[in-house]
C-alpha cells in the first residue's frame, strides 16, 4: 500500500460509524427473531383449528371437519378437492406425514346467504401426524373449495424445493383449465422479448431459456416467461404423463427442472416444450368473429340511443 497513513486514517474514519450500525443491526435482528417466534406461535395456535369443528366427511385418506354452518360447504369442497387432486397428483401428498389446511371462513358482502357465516373448515390428509405440512388462511365462505385446492397446490410445489425455486409463486391450481390455457396463449403470443419471440417462431432452445430451464449468458430478465407460464408448462407436462406423473416428477427432483418435466411427461424435455408451444398456438382464434353477446350489446345500445334521439312525441 503506497499511502499507508492515508489509508489508515480513511479506514479509521470509515469504521467509526460501524459500531453504531452494528448495534442497530443486532437490535433489529433480535426484534426480527422475536417476531418470527411470535408469528410461528400464533400460527400454530390458529392451525389447531376451531374447537366447534367436527369431522363431517372422509374420502380415502382425506378427512374434512367443519363448524356446523359450514358442513354442507365442506362436503361440497371435499368432493371438488378430490377430483382436482386425482387429476393432477393422484394419491400423492406433500409429506409422508400428511397435511392439514385450516380455513377460517368469513362473510363476504356478496356471499350466498346459505354460506354467509363465520366458521372453520379443516382438511386433513391422513395420517396428519407431527411432521405434516400445515397452512391456514382466512377466506370468504364462498371460496372454500378454491382455497383448499390452491393451498394444496402450494404445499405440493413447496415439497419439491427445486421446483419451488423454479416456480417462484404458487400456480393457480383451482383456476379453470381452459381459462388458464387461454391466458397462457395470450401471454405467449404477445410476449415481446427477443428470446420469447424466437420461442414463438419455433426455436425450442429459446423456449427452454425463456422458461428458465436452460441458462444462457446475455439473456435479460425481460426474456423470461412469468411464473404463470411456468405453471402452465408444469400442468401440461403432468397432463401429458397421465397417471403417476407427479410421482415420477418428484423422483427426478435432484436432476433439475428439465429432467423433472421429462420424467413427468415420459418424453424428452424438448418434446414437452415443442408440444406445449404447439398447443398454445393452436388455441389462437382463427378469425375475429362477432359473438352473440357483442351483437346484442351493440343492438341494445343502438335501440336505446335511437329512442332518445327520436323523442317521445314520435310515439305519442
Amino acid at each position: 500500500m503506497r499511502n499507508r497513513p492515508l489509508f489508515a486514517i480513511a479506514l479509521g474514519m470509515l469504521l467509526l460509524p460501524v459500531p453504531g450500525a452494528a448495534q442497530q443491526a443486532a437490535a433489529w435482528r433480535d426484534s426480527a427473531q422475536r417476531l418470527d417466534v411470535a408469528v410461528r406461535a400464533l400460527r400454530d395456535s390458529m392451525l389447531q383449528g376451531d374447537s366447534t369443528a367436527a369431522e363431517v366427511a372422509r374420502r380415502g385418506d382425506l378427512a374434512i371437519a367443519a363448524s356446523p354452518k359450514q358442513k354442507t360447504n365442506a362436503i361440497d369442497a371435499l368432493d371438488r378437492f378430490v377430483r382436482v387432486r386425482d387429476r393432477w397428483y393422484g394419491s400423492e401428498m406433500p409429506s409422508a406425514s400428511g397435511f392439514r389446511i385450516v380455513l377460517r371462513t368469513e362473510s363476504g358482502p356478496r356471499s350466498n346467504g346459505s354460506l354467509d357465516s363465520a366458521g372453520a373448515v379443516i382438511l386433513a390428509g391422513l395420517p396428519d401426524t407431527e411432521g405434516a405440512m400445515r397452512t391456514q388462511r382466512i377466506v370468504s365462505a364462498s371460496t372454500v373449495a378454491s382455497a383448499l385446492i390452491d393451498r394444496f397446490g402450494e404445499m405440493m410445489i413447496a415439497s419439491v424445493p427445486t421446483l419451488s425455486a423454479w416456480m417462484e409463486t404458487p400456480p393457480p391450481l383451482s383456476m379453470d383449465e381452459s381459462e388458464r390455457r387461454d391466458q397462457a396463449m395470450y401471454a405467449f403470443v404477445t410476449a415481446m422479448g427477443p428470446i420469447e419471440r424466437r420461442c414463438v417462431a419455433g426455436d425450442v432452445t429459446a423456449c427452454s431459456v425463456a422458461m428458465r430451464i436452460r441458462q444462457v449468458e446475455g439473456a435479460e430478465d425481460g426474456d423470461r416467461y412469468s411464473p404463470f407460464m411456468r405453471a402452465d408448462l408444469l400442468y401440461f407436462a403432468l397432463d401429458l404423463g397421465g397417471p403417476g406423473a407427479w410421482a415420477r416428477l418428484r423422483s427426478a427432483a435432484d436432476s433439475g427442472v428439465g429432467a423433472m418435466l421429462s420424467a413427468a411427461a415420459r418424453m424428452p424435455t424438448d418434446s414437452v416444450l415443442a408440444r406445449w408451444r404447439s398447443g398454445l398456438l393452436a388455441l389462437r382464434p382463427a378469425t375475429a368473429v362477432i359473438t352473440a353477446r357483442s351483437a346484442l350489446i351493440a343492438i341494445t345500445w343502438s335501440a336505446i340511443l335511437l329512442i332518445g334521439a327520436l323523442g317521445a312525441s314520435k310515439w305519442a
Partner: protein, 406 residues
Amino acid sequence: MGLTLKRIGFGALALAAVALPLRKEHSPGTMQSTTTPALRLDSLYWQRRAAHLSWSAFDLRDSAMRTVATAHAGGARPAVAFRGFASVTSNAEADSIITTLWSQIGHTNPNVTVSALIYNTRTYAQPSYIGALITRHDDRTECVAISPAGFERNGQVTLWRQDLAEALAPCTLLAMFGAPGTGVAGWLSATGYAAAQSNLWLVPRKVQLTRGPWIEWDETGAGRRWPDDIFGWMQSIGLFELAVTMRPPYVYGASGLRCINGDQAACVAGVLHSAIALPAADSMPPDVTLSAWLTHPKVTTVATIRPPSPEFVAALITEFGRERFQKFWAADRSFEAAFQDAFGESLGTWTAGWAAREWRGTYEAQHLNADILLGVTLKPSWLPLTIGWTLVALLVAGWVARRRTA
C-alpha cells in the same frame, strides 16, 4: 290532487335517481378480518417484514462499509465481494453486468470508488434490502451496490440481474459524473435516489414499452375500489370495459395526471415536492438508497403527489447528453436554477413533455386509452341510471302528451 301526488312521486323518483350513485358503498375487495387472532397475525406479519428489512439494511451496510475500506478509488471496474457464500469469489453474471456498464461509461471519476456486495438471500429469509450505500468524505465518494443472489444445490450462485443492475445505477452516475452539486445532492438525499435507479442512459431498453412517468402508488384505506366491485349485469352489457377504457391512471395521482396534461406547476411539484416518506433513521440507515416501495407513505389518496419514475435521471442524460448533464449535476445552485442553466428550459416545461411521452409509451396508453380526462368522470352506474331515467321521462312525457291530445 291525483296529479299533484303523481308529480310529487315523480319528483321523489328523480331525487332518488340522483342520490343513488352518491350513497356510501361497502368495498368488497377489502377483506375485513373480524377475528382478533387474524388481526394480530396480520399485524405481526407486517412488523416482522419491517424488522427483517431494517435488520438486513443495517447488517448489509456494515458489510458494505468493510467493502469500502478495501476498494481502490477510480479503479477500472468495481470489485465484487460476496457474503454468505462459502468459497465463492466470482460470478460470471455479475462480471458480465459490470463489464457492460463500465464499458459504456468509459473514463470514470478518480474520486469515486464503486464496488458491489452480493449476499446470500437465505441469510435473512424474508424480503431483504436491495440498493446502494453512498458515503462521502471530503472529496471522496464511495458507492457500494448491494444485491441478493440465490445459492443452487450444485454450488452455483444465481444472480438476479435486474436487481444488481438497479442497485448499481446510482453508482454508475457517480462514477461517470462525480459527486453532485448542492442542489442535486439535496434532492437525491431527500428522495433516497428514487429517481436515479436506471441504467437506460448506458444500456437502452430493448422493448418499446415505457414504464410510465410516475411511481404507481395505490390508494390506501376504505376509499379504494377493486375492479370486480361492479354488478354482474353491468359487466354483461359491457359497462365495465367502458369504464376501464375511460378512466385515467389514478395510480399517478392528481398531480401526475395534471402534469401529463401539460400543467407545468404540477410537474415541478412531482419532481421536487413529492410525498416520499423516508424511514426514520433508526429503522433504515440514512446513507443508503431506497426504492419507491420503501418510501410509500402510509396513507395515499389521489391527492398524494407521486415521485417521478426511477428512469427520470436517465431520461435527462439520454435527451441532453453527458456534457450538459454534467453541468447540471455538478452545479452548486438550486435544482431548478441548475436545470434551467444547463438545459436551457425550465424544469416544468421539460418534465411536462417527458411525462406525456412516457405515458404514451405505456401499455395502457397504447392498447387501452391514451386520453386522460381530468375532472369528474362517469361512474359505471351513472350510464344505465341516466338512460333508464331518460326512458322513464320519455314514457311519462308521451303519456302526458297522449292525454292532452285525447
